[in-house]
């Protein structure tokens, strides 16, 4: 059924009068803010047979995040020309009539892995670890150097000032906790208070923040080449230290030790980022953003739990994540030093 509807939709988009054949349609695990589907398409274009893999991202019935697909599409489209590896974006449909819910279609990048169990634990990737770490840093520097005004992304919402980046994010995530908490949250409330009392220095510059930049959110090959940075749902304009701290968070230290993203030591990450042309990193500012990052992640999990408990989704992952907020509370208390 979905296959047929995608076929009909693509026939209106591709330059062909012979129709489009869809095959190998399957849903990809993950992508919790949207349903993610992969499929192959074949069609004839100017007498030539074309075969291409696509990924379709469709709004879900309920999600860990309430995000704007239009932002995700436009930002990925804009940063591609600046040397940030992202899948090519094809079509955005804010009117969901073709497939019941709004969606967009992008290029499928083949021959790569994204899951940390492969990228960090598959022996094929072991020798590529150093290159992967460097690519991870270099791409983050490129994202932060992106001229978002020239790229037409001022409409993302420019913080009132460099000093306003932090307070804006505190307010955003506190509102999510207010809205979605099903239980009292003494640790998160204490954390919001701590954050307001320990605001970082103003952002050195207002930059494009990916806001979910971490191991697990890029496609890479076994040579350590990052071919696509994914999951731009939370992207916004703000303080570059937000991305630095998010990358450092314990939940992404998949190997269970202190290595950032399972890739490199913290000091090496900071040094590489600065040497590659990134902003100066102050440990106190990173600490602030790391507390806020863990609070934000807890808020996202609370949203998932709320979706499940309100009956808006039966996805077992949404039930599971709510039961894991406690470990983030531990991390938040560690970081606050209480």
């Amino acid at each position: 059924m979905l296959e047929q509807r995608i076929q009909t939709y693509l026939s209106t988009k591709l330059d062909t009068s012979d129709g489009v054949a869809i095959s190998a349609l399957h849903r990809i695990p993950g992508g919790f803010s949207r349903e993610t589907w992969s499929f192959d398409a074949r069609w004839r274009e100017y007498g030539r047979e074309v075969h291409r893999g696509f990924v379709l991202r469709r709004d879900p019935d309920a999600s860990l995040l309430v995000t704007d697909r239009d932002v995700e599409f436009r930002v990925m489209d804009a940063v591609a020309v600046h040397g940030v590896p992202v899948p090519k974006m094809y079509w955005l449909e804010n009117d969901g009539s073709a497939l019941d819910r709004p969606f967009f279609v992008m290029e499928r990048i083949d021959g790569c892995e994204t899951h940390p169990s492969k990228v960090l634990m598959d022996p094929r990737f072991f020798s590529a670890r150093d290159r992967l770490a460097q690519e991870f840093v270099d791409i983050l520097v490129r994202i932060h150097a992106f001229d978002w005004r020239a790229g037409g992304l001022a409409s993302l919402g420019v913080p009132a000032s460099e000093a306003g980046c932090a307070i804006g994010e505190i307010q955003k995530w506190e509102a999510v906790v207010d809205r979605d908490s099903l239980e009292p949250q003494p640790v998160l409330r204490a954390a919001f208070r701590w954050l307001r009392r320990n605001l970082p220095p103003p952002a050195q510059r207002i930059v494009l923040v990916h806001a979910d930049y971490r191991t697990g959110n890029f496609l890479c090959n076994s040579e350590g080449e990052i071919k696509g940075v994914l999951d731009w749902e939370m992207t916004h304009l703000g303080d570059p230290m937000e991305d630095i701290a998010w990358s450092c968070m314990r939940p992404w230290r998949w190997l269970g030790d202190e290595k950032i993203g399972g890739l490199m030591e913290r000091a090496d990450f900071f040094r590489s980022y600065q040497q590659a042309g990134g902003f100066a990193i102050a440990a106190d500012a990173v600490r602030f953003w790391e507390v806020l990052g863990n609070v934000k992640f807890a808020a996202i999990l609370l949203t998932g739990a709320r979706s499940f408990c309100d009956g808006r989704t039966r996805n077992p992952l949404m039930a599971l994540v709510g039961r894991n907020v406690a470990r983030l509370e531990l991390e938040i208390m560690d970081l606050m030093g209480v």
Partner: protein, 184 residues
């Protein structure tokens, strides 16, 4: 009754792993089955102790709140905002008298107590370090000790990945504390 609840959860997990998952052909379905398996592991992790943990937590919270009420009452004559917090604690501690051991009753009481704790913690964070409020400092520390104990309890999928070394350190420190307590 046998099999017990825990034994039954283990039976479901075994069926999922040995019978159902091998029949699943799509990665998405296998991923969902993995989430169900972890959800069951999380339930199994506190099946036997959930009621006892809540009962103990509620006792600990009641003691912390009563001590907090006394500390605030003595330390802050004339502070209207904190006086109303003290009154609220008194009223709630009186109201929340329920001997039921059903999980829903215990959890409901726990929520009411944690909601008060949320307010107290905010008040204590304002007062901490100020001279004359040393008792408040000590209570604030005790509250965080309690919150840490709760935060490290049970099973999380992160315990075998991202939080592996951190949780080993937490459990090792807890075991040392227990051993010291036994010696004393």
């Amino acid at each position: 009754m046998r099999p017990t609840g825990l034994e039954s959860i283990r039976a479901i997990q075994a069926a999922l792993a040995d019978i159902i998952v091998p029949e699943l052909t799509s990665a998405f379905a296998q991923d969902a089955a993995g989430a169900v398996q972890m959800l069951l592991e999380s339930l199994a992790g506190d099946w036997d102790t959930a009621a006892e943990d809540l009962r103990r937590d509620n006792e600990a919270l009641s003691v912390l709140l009563a001590s907090s009420r006394d500390a605030l009452d003595r330390a802050l004559p004339g502070n209207k905002s904190l006086a109303s917090t003290v009154t609220d604690i008194e009223n709630r501690l009186r109201e929340i008298q329920d001997d039921s051991l059903t999980l829903s009753s215990l959890a409901s009481r726990n929520h009411a107590l944690r909601a008060l704790l949320e307010r107290i913690l905010v008040a204590f964070d304002d007062l901490t370090g100020q001279s004359g409020y040393e008792k408040v400092d000590g209570l604030r520390r005790d509250i965080y000790v309690h919150l840490r104990q709760v935060a490290t309890r049970g099973w999380s999928f992160w315990d075998v990945s991202s939080f592996r070394e951190r949780m080993i350190a937490v459990r090792s420190a807890a075991a040392e504390d227990d051993a010291r307590g036994a010696v004393r």
